[in-house]
């Protein structure tokens, strides 16, 4: 009786351990290797912070671009939202005619034209675009200067820029959008303002 049981067990084991099982084991070892790779990414700190840990809100590509020198703007010229002279940080991908902000905070980095005048230069930055639901409250700030205003469609965002002699012409404009919201059409972005064009002019005295 015991012998027959052992024979049966042995037969069953042989059925299980055959060349198919060996191939399955080889695959299993391979998958263990893949799991090991997945648990040990070989990436930059910026990549890890943005994609894996989610401790940073700025993508590695944005961080890299911050290091790049920007071409200087030309006064009185209108630039499209996706012009290479403008760096948008914290905005969505550019669409054909505009680029939307996608959270409650967005930034624009510009390189103003340098000119040795020996005195403070007063410039005006004009952002032209569209507002979610036709109007948005936007707080703009450049350094310590802040403007808190509600803008309506057809109304441009006008920001005064003061450039002291010898000052760094690299300017970062911050837009805070406290009323940014889901547009209600399935788009999962918190939209607020869509930039179409940008222009820097000499402020009229």
């Amino acid at each position: 009786m015991l012998g027959r049981s052992l024979c049966s067990l042995s037969y069953n084991l042989r059925q299980w351990i055959n060349r198919w099982s060996a191939l399955a084991l080889a695959l299993l070892v391979g998958y263990a290797g893949v799991v090991y790779l997945a648990a040990h990414p070989n990436v930059s700190e910026a990549y890890r912070a943005y994609y894996i840990d989610r401790s940073s809100g700025i993508s590695p590509a944005s961080l890299e671009k911050l290091k790049d020198p920007l071409p200087a703007l030309t006064l009185e010229r209108t630039y499209a939202h996706d012009a290479p002279e403008i760096m948008l940080i914290g905005w969505s991908s550019a669409e054909v005619a505009l680029t939307w902000t996608h959270s409650k905070r967005a930034q624009i980095r510009l390189f103003l034209p340098t000119e040795e005048t020996g005195s403070v230069r007063n410039l005006t930055l004009v952002l032209q675009g569209t507002y979610l639901h036709g109007q948005q409250r936007i707080i703009t700030s450049v350094g310590p200067d802040r403007i808190d205003q509600t803008y309506r469609d057809g109304e441009d965002i006008v920001i005064p820029l003061r450039l002291a002699p010898g000052a760094e012409p690299n300017v970062i404009v911050t837009l805070e959008l406290p009323d940014a919201a889901l547009p209600g059409n399935g788009d999962s972005r918190m939209l607020g303002f869509a930039l179409r064009t940008l222009r820097v002019s000499q402020t009229a005295l």
Binding site: N18, A24, L28, Y31, P41, V43, L182
Partner: protein, 344 residues
């Protein structure tokens, strides 16, 4: 039957395009544009992604490989190659779905399956360079092979399925049910062969993960990059609740997901546990990152389509639903030509 269904599907789409007038017949946008990017320039390095953080790692390689091969052989532009590849795969997918229906529901007339497959709102995604036809084709082939007791073939198609979309791994659940049933019912079954066949299924995903590790340094880049599309992993119940209180689009997506869960229950009740688990996986996993695009994720699943065919076969009056379903397809065709956001 399959060719007739394909012809009807294409004729209706062509009519909408003709009446619309502006956008071309072979219109590639949204995900299709991402696949075209892969065909043209390959997968991005982590140093050349868009400043928004979005990168094409989220898009699995089998479909762009097919589209890229068509482009390479014919010399046609990548956009046209992607759309044409999807249409050819769609003909094969219709044929594969009918073969799948014949295996799982042999008594039901094939015209019901053919009609619902090509005349539902999500059938628009067969026309525009998306992965839906390839996913449907491979999942039907894998499930059919299981029913025909050809485990290695089922596993091999499963491997291709996981190289098409991450959720393809779910077919492993259907395979597990198939394998367990065999082990329990047939004592002389070749368990090693079943084990090997099942282990084949994640091979496509594993291959893509190794590629991503070598290329980007992160084997899970396809998942991590979802962050740039604002997809946050959470409970499916949370997203269901949020969607119910949200806008019209979210509500429709939530209702589609709920329909998916109802079909899971129906399939389980009918004893099709493998299909039920596959559909549960394919519905719950995308839902856990949000309600976006749930329509195509749920409806273009073979298990969902078969459950609807079962219902229409068992309850004749339900066949009247083919009318609103066809109107939904026409509406989606129009929306695609209009580039309305919800078709994404």
């Amino acid at each position: 039957m399959g060719l007739i269904a394909f012809a009807v599907h294409q004729f209706l789409h062509a009519m909408v395009v003709l009446l619309h007038g502006d956008a071309p017949y072979l219109f590639c946008q949204y995900d299709c544009a991402w696949y075209v990017g892969i065909i043209n320039t390959g997968y991005m390095l982590d140093t050349n992604v868009h400043v928004s953080g979005q990168a094409n790692w989220a898009f699995f390689p089998l479909f762009p490989l097919i589209g890229g091969t068509v482009e390479w052989i014919t010399g046609i532009p990548a956009q046209v190659a992607a759309v044409l590849s999807a249409k050819v795969l769609w003909i094969l997918a219709i044929w594969a779905f009918l073969a799948f229906q014949r295996e799982y529901l042999p008594a039901s007339p094939l015209w019901i399956g053919a009609a619902f497959l090509v005349l539902n709102p999500a059938a628009i995604y067969a026309n525009n360079g998306y992965t839906e036809p390839l996913f449907l084709l491979l999942s039907c082939l894998s499930l059919t092979a299981m029913r025909q007791d050809r485990p290695v073939m089922a596993g091999a198609f499963g491997a291709l399925l996981t190289a098409t979309r991450a959720v393809g791994v779910g077919v492993g659940l259907a395979f597990a049910v198939y394998a367990l049933t065999h082990v329990i019912r047939k004592p002389d079954v070749n368990a090693g062969k079943l084990l090997f066949a099942g282990m084949l299924i994640p091979l496509g995903l594993a291959g893509y993960m190794v590629f991503l590790h070598v290329h980007v340094g992160d084997a899970l880049a396809f998942s991590h990059v979802q962050r740039a599309w604002y997809r946050e992993l959470s409970s499916p119940l949370f997203h269901l609740k949020s969607g119910l209180g949200g806008d019209t689009y979210s509500l429709i997506m939530v209702l589609t997901a709920l329909m998916g869960f109802i079909m899971v229950g129906y399939l389980a009740w009918k004893g099709e546990w493998g299909l039920a688990l596959f559909l549960l996986f394919a519905t719950a996993i995308p839902l856990s990152t949000g309600t976006s695009s749930m329509g195509r994720y749920v409806v273009m699943q073979p298990a969902f389509l078969l459950a609807v065919v079962m219902l229409m076969y068992n309850h004749r009056w339900l066949r009247v639903l083919l009318v609103p379903s066809t109107l939904g397809y026409l509406w989606m065709s129009y929306a695609w030509q209009e580039s309305l956001f919800f078709v994404i």
